[in-house]
């Protein structure tokens, strides 16, 4: 039992840095949560997006890029791996302002922090999640 | 009417008969020893009398107001029990399980019965101890107390002294003899012909070329009895 408490204590100290206070307008700060909870939170957002519509979400993850070969439409996302490292969840984002890929973006896989407004949109009959009007900064702050 | 009457009983597993044409009866107050070599079917006979397996043929009738589930059974110890975390009291109380019926828990009179049987066997001061920490003789007393909770009439004992040292064995035999004198009918499987001839009123000898059933005196005079006593009992019979 004692050993487990020690582990718990160490883990808490480690995560204390990440849990530092963030500016108030952020409603859901995925960047301050542990991997396990981030995964569950994103899962919940996927399952019940209507609960989160319009909220300001901040998240941290690896930059990912996809271009639809037919429509030439470009998609950007931040990808988070869960604790078991087998399930990854990503949320697409739209960077506010005029930016072109690849010139203005960091290399793929770079850790970025994205803050944007949570919303959904329909495409080909499927619902997708997206952070719009997003700010993107490099690294984990 | 006898407590148990077996007529033309055939025993065994899956149509392979170990024993056939078994006829004997046990009356109230009897002390019957079942003797015979290893593998002769003594334990199978006891399991059949307990209803744990079906006879291949013949019948077992319970009489004298005796019901099949009013039997106090002392089995041989199993491997599971060797390291079982249970107190003496918990085990003895489980002897009352037939009285509980649909109730979930034991009531006051059942708890009193368990205590009474513990004191009858001189085990009251050990009631909170763990079964696996007791000596072999004490463990047998616990299982005997449990059997006493299940019956007021008939004890079926399967090699009750197996693995006990000579002193404890003698104590165990004395204990069983006392219970028999207090009115309990005893059926005991035994290897020990000398003890059987000393304590029992009747002998059932199974296996070999022929089966014998009768009183101890008749057994001493019979052919299988003489041969078996000479073979196993040695000089002290």
């Amino acid at each position: 039992m004692k050993r487990a408490f020690l582990i718990l204590l160490c883990l808490t100290l480690l995560s204390a840095g990440a849990a530092a206070e963030s500016p108030s307008p952020i409603d859901i700060d995925l960047a301050s949560l542990s991997g396990t909870v981030v995964y569950a939170q994103v899962y919940d957002m996927v399952m019940e997006p209507e609960l989160y519509e319009g909220l300001v979400v901040r998240m941290r993850g690896g930059l990912s890029y996809f271009q639809d070969p037919d429509t030439k439409q470009e998609y950007f996302a931040a990808i988070i791996a869960d604790a078991t490292a087998c399930c990854s969840q990503g949320i697409e984002f739209v960077w506010a302002g005029e930016h072109t890929y690849p010139d203005d973006y960091p290399p793929l896989g770079t850790e970025i922090t994205v803050t944007g407004i949570f919303g959904t949109y329909e495409e080909n009959g499927l619902t997708y999640l997206q952070l719009t009007d997003a700010e993107m900064t490099l690294g984990g702050e | 009417m006898a407590l148990i009457t077996c007529r033309d009983l055939a025993l065994g597993y899956e149509s392979h008969a170990i024993l056939e044409h078994l006829n004997f009866s046990v009356n109230a107050g009897d002390y019957l020893c079942v003797v015979g070599e290893n593998g002769s079917g003594k334990s199978t006979l006891m399991r059949t009398m307990l209803g744990l397996q079906k006879p291949l043929g013949g019948s077992i009738a319970f009489g004298d107001g005796m019901r099949p589930n009013e039997v106090g059974y002392l089995p041989q110890q199993s491997a599971i029990q060797k390291d079982f975390p249970a107190t003496v009291r918990e085990i003895v109380l489980s002897g009352c399980q037939a009285h509980v019926g649909r109730r979930a828990f034991y009531n006051q009179s059942e708890k009193a019965l368990a205590l009474e049987n513990l004191s009858r066997l001189g085990m009251v001061e050990h009631q909170r101890r763990c079964y696996r920490e007791l000596s072999g003789g004490q463990q047998q007393r616990v299982l005997l107390a449990r059997a006493l909770c299940a019956t007021k009439k008939l004890l079926l004992l399967d090699e009750p002294v197996a693995g006990l040292d000579p002193k404890v064995t003698a104590e165990m035999y004395a204990l069983i003899e006392r219970l028999n004198r207090e009115g309990l009918t005893v059926v005991m499987i035994s290897h020990d012909i000398a003890a059987a001839a000393h304590y029992a009123t009747h002998i059932l000898h199974v296996g070999g070329d022929r089966t014998f059933f009768g009183t101890v005196d008749e057994y001493r005079r019979s052919a299988p009895g003489r041969r078996f006593i000479a073979l196993e009992g040695g000089g002290d019979a």
Binding site: M1, K2, R3, A4, I7, L8, L11, T12, L14, S15, A19, L33, S34, G35, T36, V37, V38, Y39, A40, Q41, Y43, D44, M47, D82, A83, T84, C86, C87, S88 | R47, L50, G51, L52, P68, N69, V71, Y73, P75, S78, I80, Q81, F84, P85, A86, T87, E90, L93, S94, G95, Q97, A98, V100, A104, F105, R128, C130, E133, A147, A150, L156
Partner: protein
Amino acid sequence: MIQTIQQYLQFPFVRYALVVGTLIALCSSLLGVTLVLKRFSFIGDGLSHVAFGAMAIAGVLNVTNDMLFVMPVTVLCAILLLRTGKNARVKGDAAIAMISVGALAIGYLLLNLFSTSSNLSGDVCSTLFGSTSILTLTKAEVWLCAALSVIVVALFVLFYNKIFAVTFDEDFSRAVGTRVESYNLLIAVVIAVIIVLAMNLVGSLLISALIIFPALSAMRLFRSFRSVTVCSAALSVVCALLGMLISIVGGTPVGSTIVAVDIAVYFLCAALEYFKR
């Protein structure tokens, strides 16, 4: 530390996970003693693999609520295993081994061939190791888990004395007229239910650990069946809560963290026993 935990407790799914996880841990520990002593440990292990196979089929069939499909299949297999264990040509151990690895292989094969999911390895991984399943339960699953846990605990309390008697000495119980077969059946069905529930908490590969470790730890410390049962339930709940909190705060996988805590507690109990002597 308290603050961090409080921050996480604001998430409803974290609260659900803690409640359901505690209930599941409580149930799974209750029959652990019986399982260990009756040498049924392997049945638990075999059934958990069956549950994996059933889960795979449920995934292929696109069943909306997995548990409603997996539960009956696992219960059925529990009954079959118990029956064949007695008098079959294949020996009990071998039968269980066959069913368990068979279900594992067929389950994975089916998933690979027919799964419509985009994240196959993710599905397999979360079924085998639980990953974050306990944190991603739907409301319906939360209620189902809670209700089943309560039923399991109630059944155990109600039949506690009979379960003890049957575990300690089947032959004696049978001789005095206790319906041993019915209670064995009850035990097998309850084990199946517990396994399906526990899949959400630790995944199918780690279920045996959740069932057996608290019982083994308690058997190190206590001498009566009742205190062993109570202690094993308490240890299981504490370990599960601690494991879940560690994994939530530290971002470690839920199932393996709980089992790691269980293992640590086992060695602690073994040490305590050693020093007591």
